[in-house]
């Protein structure tokens, strides 16, 4: 059941490129205030070098004090201490600024990026949403965004900071004794390599574990939700699922353990290198101190000690930050990849609505993006403004696909679709504005009742009166009035408490959405009555003509009795329209439609 880990290992993305992208994001998302604060904060990284220098002076003077406790020496100590305190204070102030600035920048960039992502994703072509590659990437990118952006922001800032600190401290070290500085730097290199390797691994691991982690989590979640708990109890298979979960957990755990063991080993080894080199450096400075000619005081020992600690830390941070940046580089690439998918072109959205919203399909052939099998074959049909058309056919015959193409959610590989005389792709925005929908799997949004209806028409502001009218016409006002907060009742569980509606009640709300589009020219109803009880369903059919008015109505339905309401019935079978006509005509033909009709009717007639 687990995927066989055939994951393509992503190539690295250039550090420089990533830093550049981060810088660009910084300027796009933040104002001059944030950037100014940030700069001040970063300058604070130059302070440690100054402090280490002053420490050297301080301890040299202190050494002097033991030999010569005169007031000049004391004065020197006092001055040095005062300067040192001044720097400490400055560091404190700058530290506050930097902390605040980096948090601010993090939030701004986070929000900016998420906002962009949401804006883009909602508008990309629907066919992309159906490919696992895209929706997995999307789920991963949006889920990881906060932590990854934090990582890249803090790593980038840390990188610049470590660079500043490291160079200034390194310069100090060099000015003291170049051999020592070199040795210290050399000692830090294995640690850096290791850190870099580790972060590469971490990214790979996060990616590899992603589907595994999700699957394990998915199995466990079955134990937290009432619908699966109910089934497990009746089916008595909780033990089986527990075992399944345990297996997955074990797999994940073993993978993690392997990673940890390697990590620990590398870490210890690089530490040994590190501190050995520092030890050598200290030894060298001791040699100099003990050499009466050199005039080196104990302060130099403190300086070397201070430089060693600081520099080693800076080098490791530097490379850790570089790796942090690199790891995020791959994430950023994925993010920008998502932004590059083609958006739908909603042309004509602001044009005046056409008088005649005729729809034609001319020699249309279509298959879904990831298969070769044509789901629609040679579809030719014209639907005139005002016609009431019913679409029937067994599951998989192409009905829903036909409607999806009609909405412009996919484009046919062959043939063309027109609306009001123009190519659909050239007037997509107009067509969408001119059409109202009820999909079979319409959304049950966790909003107020009023908002759930209001979203039927996002092209203009709806008045409260319009919403209530739409609800009345959809036969929803009745049950809404019985709710405590009526139209302001929050559906779902995002607010305190929880309100659920039955399937039939939701169906009526969905239809109310459709009705709010008074100006629509076309109405598309997909299994509109599937969840309604027989009486409500009958009412809908009776009022069908009145509800649809002079709009074109396209109805997909399994309930063949209702197709009699239509001016024309299209019968789909294996991707083609095999029969067409009124109910009477099709019955007399005694073909597929007649057969399907009989299959249902037989239960109701004698």
């Amino acid at each position: 059941m687990a995927s066989n880990g055939k994951l393509k290992r992503s190539k690295g993305v250039g550090i420089v490129e990533t830093l550049f992208t981060t810088g660009k994001l910084l300027f796009e998302a933040c104002g001059p205030k944030e950037i100014g604060l940030l700069t001040v904060g970063l300058l604070g990284y130059l302070i440690p070098a100054g402090m280490i220098f002053l420490q050297k002076e301080f301890f040299n003077h202190a050494e002097q004090l033991v030999i010569d406790p005169s007031s000049t020496v004391i004065r020197d100590i006092a001055v040095t201490l005062a300067l040192w305190s001044g720097l400490m204070l400055a560091q404190w102030v700058v530290g506050i600024i930097e902390g605040h600035a980096s948090r601010l920048v993090n939030i701004r960039i986070n929000n900016y990026m998420m906002n962009r992502l949401l804006g883009k994703i909602g508008s990309i072509r629907y066919e992309y949403m159906d490919t696992p590659e895209v929706f997995n990437k999307l789920e991963w990118v949006s889920r990881e965004l906060p932590s990854r952006i934090a990582q890249v922001v803090y790593s980038s800032l840390g990188f610049v900071g470590s660079l500043l600190a490291g160079s200034s401290v390194g310069a100090l070290g060099f000015s003291e004794d170049w051999r020592i500085a070199l040795i210290i730097i050399a000692g830090g290199i294995p640690a850096c390599l290791f850190v870099h390797l580790q972060n590469d691994e971490e990214y790979y691991r996060a990616q590899w574990e992603s589907p595994e982690l999700r699957q394990q989590w998915h199995v466990f979640r079955l134990f937290t939700r009432r619908d699966s708990i109910r089934e497990m109890r009746v089916g008595q298979y909780s033990d089986y699922l527990m075992e399944k979960w345990a297996d997955l957990s074990l797999q994940l755990r073993n993978h993690r353990y392997k990673y940890i063991r390697k990590y620990y080993l590398f870490n210890v080894l690089s530490n040994i290198f590190n501190y050995t080199s520092i030890g050598v450096a200290l030894w060298i400075v001791c040699l100099r101190i003990f050499d009466p000619v050199s005039g080196t005081g104990i302060g130099s020992f403190m300086l070397v000690y201070g430089v060693a600690m600081s520099l080693q830390g800076d080098i490791i941070s530097l490379f850790s930050d570089i790796s942090g940046v690199a790891a995020t580089g791959k994430y950023l690439k994925d993010y920008y990849d998502l932004l590059r998918y083609d958006s739908e072109e909603l042309a004509g959205e602001d044009d005046p609505l056409p008088e005649n919203g005729d729809i034609t399909f001319e020699n249309v052939w279509f298959h879904y993006p990831n298969t070769d099998r044509y789901v629609l074959q040679d579809i030719n049909v014209t639907i005139k403004q005002g016609e009431k058309v019913a679409i029937v056919g067994e599951n998989g015959s192409g009905k829903s696909t036909f409607v999806a193409l009609l909405c412009g959610l996919y484009q046919p590989q062959r043939g063309r679709i027109t609306f009001a005389g123009k190519e659909l792709s050239e007037v997509l925005g107009l067509m969408r504005r001119a059409t109202s929908f009820v999909f079979q799997d319409f959304g049950r949004y966790q909003l107020t009742v009023a908002d759930n209806i209001r979203i039927g028409n996002t092209y203009r502001e709806l008045t409260e009166g319009e919403i209530i009218t739409a609800a009345k016409r959809a036969d929803a006002d009745g049950f809404i009035q019985e709710m405590e907060q009526k139209y302001n009742t929050f559906l779902g569980s995002l607010e305190q408490g929880r309100t659920d509606l039955s399937g039939g009640q939701w169906q009526k709300l969905a239809f109310a959405r459709c009705i709010t589009r008074q100006e629509a020219k076309v109405m598309i109803l997909d299994e509109q009555t599937a969840a309604l009880d027989p009486i409500s369903e009958a009412r809908f059919y009776r009022e069908f003509r009145e509800l649809t008015g002079d709009r074109t109505a396209i109805m997909i339905s399994h309930r063949l009795g209702a197709t009699k309401l239509a001016d024309r019935i299209l019968v789909f079978h294996e991707g083609r329209i095999v029969e067409e006509g009124t109910h009477e005509k099709l019955m007399s033909k005694n073909g597929l439609y007649a057969q399907m009709y009989e299959a249902q009717a037989q239960w109701y007639t004698a």
Partner: protein, 620 residues
């Protein structure tokens, strides 16, 4: 008596300082952790303690090195220094290796405790009577505990780290004690201030999250609508993208403000502490110089004082940090404790034992006598229902949406116990039965049956898990459920993975195809009793007919209860139970009920009129 007073007084004091007001939750958590794995916890804690004590030694070594240098600068003998420097480096290596330990603890402990707690949770869930879940708050709580039950790991890990940091701090305090009284004083003052400030800050964090939790869920919801697949069609067709994005944006702006505000408040604590530390640093350096001048200490001593002061600061910092970290998870522990300690009243429900059951009245499968039931006993969903189902009968349950059909099914299944009245299975009350006995006799498909993203094999075998590897039995069930053609059309047959979330080549099924799989699940092992809730709602007319015919033919003398709002099908039944607003209003065969010309007849005609040529709509 005196002891009790002092203990509760102490607790009250701690509570007032807002340091520790979730002692019960902590106790419970530690008990769990201890039961699960005491060995590892002790091991890591001891390691933590040892590691935390290293700085105490490395500071001493530095002091000695410096003293040695200053003392022997004239003498010029270096050899003794070499091994001291070597020792120092060795200690440093140990110390930094010690820093990795928290990482490792995180991984090993996390997995161990998480897995154990999740397992406990799953077992616990098996004991909860199903009707409890109809209370949405309860269901949400259970779900939340499930999602967060692995956090015990953080509490245990945080505690291990805390103990280590505490030992380290004590060691440094001892070193300060032997070095200089002022140092000790400063450290103590600092510690007290740190504790108070951080305690206050913790409260603010907690309050923030209590409020923000709901807002964040909403924020995630709106984002999820756009990035998820389910709403993709509607978002494009109905231009909903901006609507949801604006909602998300408003919430995000508000939350960001709140978050920054909170961060500033937290940071303030650190700033104050930092400033205090700074002041004390200057003080202690001056003091050290004074001691040096007096000859009380040597230069090494000065270095020690300075370094020790810094070390104490960072050690206390990390101590407080670990403390707060652990504390922040206690609310979750409190919630879990509350849930895990729940005891449920299981009267009227079959037990989870394994025992031998002998049916009292094998010919009467179901008998309900004046059964009334409601999730909320004040608002009954079913009122005064009485009927029987004999062995071999086919009963149809019909009625409007919300009339109570599905609830009645759950009562028959022993998932709920009636509030009033009695329910019997094979002549016995349900609580004399076992789950094992009852469910081994029933094949069930729910209206909203669960679609598992596993293999087809598993999806079907969940009807009787013992048949998981019995291909023949599974295909037989599939044949009865009209899913066999679908399976044979797949290359991997029964082992085809369904759903594309975890497998790139998983198969995406349509609603109708899923429904066939669901019905096949009910057919596995030809259980004596078949319960089908809307088995064909998603199928097209021809398939629907075939499904109903297949069900009819598969019955051969078995007992069946069928729910469908497609009334034509009810004609297959020996008996029709008609529900309206929770009451049983009619009972009889199709002919009898049509003759009676009441609610059933009205519903039937409402559906039938569309097939009979005479239509009362406009335009014909």
């Amino acid at each position: 008596m005196g002891q009790v007073i002092t203990k509760s007084r102490a607790l009250k004091l701690l509570k007032k300082l807002k340091i520790f007001d979730q002692w019960d939750a902590a106790k419970w958590a530690y008990r769990q952790g201890w039961e699960i794995d005491k060995r590892n916890f002790i091991f890591w804690t001891v390691l933590n303690i040892l590691g935390a004590l290293i700085p105490v030694y490395s500071l001493r070594v530095i002091k000695e090195i410096i003293d040695y240098i200053t003392a022997n600068i004239a003498a010029g003998s270096l050899s003794d220094i070499a091994w001291r420097i070597g020792a120092l480096c060795g200690l440093w290596v140990l110390q930094s290796s010690y820093h990795i330990i928290p990482e490792i603890i995180k991984y090993t402990m996390q997995t161990r405790y998480s897995i154990a707690m999740q397992r406990r949770y799953a077992t616990f869930v098996g004991t909860i009577p199903l009707c409890k879940f109809d209370n949405s708050e309860f269901a949400a709580k259970i779900s939340h505990v499930g999602s967060t039950c692995n956090r015990l790991a953080y509490v245990m890990g945080g505690t291990a780290s805390f103990i280590g940091a505490f030992a380290g701090t004590v060691g440094l305090f001892w070193l300060a004690f032997t070095t200089s009284w002022l140092l000790l004083l400063i450290a103590a003052v600092f510690f007290a201030v740190a504790l108070v400030l951080t305690g206050k800050n913790y409260r603010q964090h907690y309050d923030f999250w209590a409020v923000a939790k709901l807002e964040i869920r909403k924020q995630d919801y709106y984002a999820g609508l756009i990035t998820g697949r389910e709403s993709g069609k509607e978002i494009r067709a109905m231009k909903l993208n901006d609507f949801f994005r604006n909602r998300w944006r408003t919430l995000t702006e508000k939350l960001s403000e709140m978050q920054l505000d909170l961060d500033m408040k937290s940071a303030k604590v650190n700033h104050i502490l930092g400033l205090i530390h700074l002041g004390f640093s200057i003080l202690i350096l001056g003091f050290g110089v004074w001691l040096l001048r007096r000859g009380d200490i040597m230069l090494g001593g000065l270095v020690l004082i300075w370094q020790l002061h810094d070390r104490l600061y960072s050690s206390m910092h990390s101590l407080v940090r670990h403390y707060m970290y652990t504390l922040s998870y206690l609310p979750f522990m409190a919630e879990q404790k509350e849930v895990f300690e729940m005891v449920f009243d299981e009267t009227g429900l079959p037990s989870r034992e394994h025992k031998e059951i002998i049916p009292q009245d094998p010919e009467t499968i179901f008998r309900l006598e004046n059964v009334t039931f409601g999730y909320n006993p004040d608002q009954p969903v079913l009122k005064n229902i009485s009927f029987t189902v004999k062995r071999g009968e086919t009963v149809a349950l019909v009625g409007d949406n919300g009339a109570g059909k599905t609830t009645l099914i759950k009562l028959l299944l022993g998932l709920y116990a009636p509030n009033k009245g009695k329910a019997f299975f094979e002549g016995m009350p349900y609580d004399e039965l076992t789950q094992e006995y009852l469910y081994s006799k029933m094949g069930v498909v729910f209206q909203d049956f669960k679609q598992y993203h596993f293999t087809i094999r598993e999806n079907i075998a969940f009807g009787d898990i013992k048949q998981l590897h019995n291909d023949e039995a599974l295909m037989e069930a599939a044949r009865k459920g009209q899913a066999d053609k679908l399976i044979l059309a797949q290359e991997k047959g029964l082992d085809t993975f369904l759903g594309r979330e975890y497998e790139e080549d998983g198969l995406a099924l349509s609603g109708g195809e899923w429904q066939r799989i669901g019905v096949s699940r009910a057919h596995v092992s030809d259980k004596e009793i078949l319960i089908l809730d809307e088995p064909a709602a998603k199928l097209d007319p021809v398939a629907e007919m075939e499904q109903f015919m297949a069900i009819k033919h598969s019955l051969h003398g078995r007992t069946a209860v069928l729910v469908s709002h497609r009334l034509g099908f009810a004609r297959l039944a020996d008996k029709i139970v008609v529900l309206k607003d929770g009451e049983m209003v009619e009972l009889g065969t199709h002919e009898e009920l049509m003759k009676a010309n009441r609610h059933y007849a009205e519903m039937f005609r409402a559906q039938a009129e569309w097939y009979e040529g005479r239509v009362t709509g406009n335009g014909f």
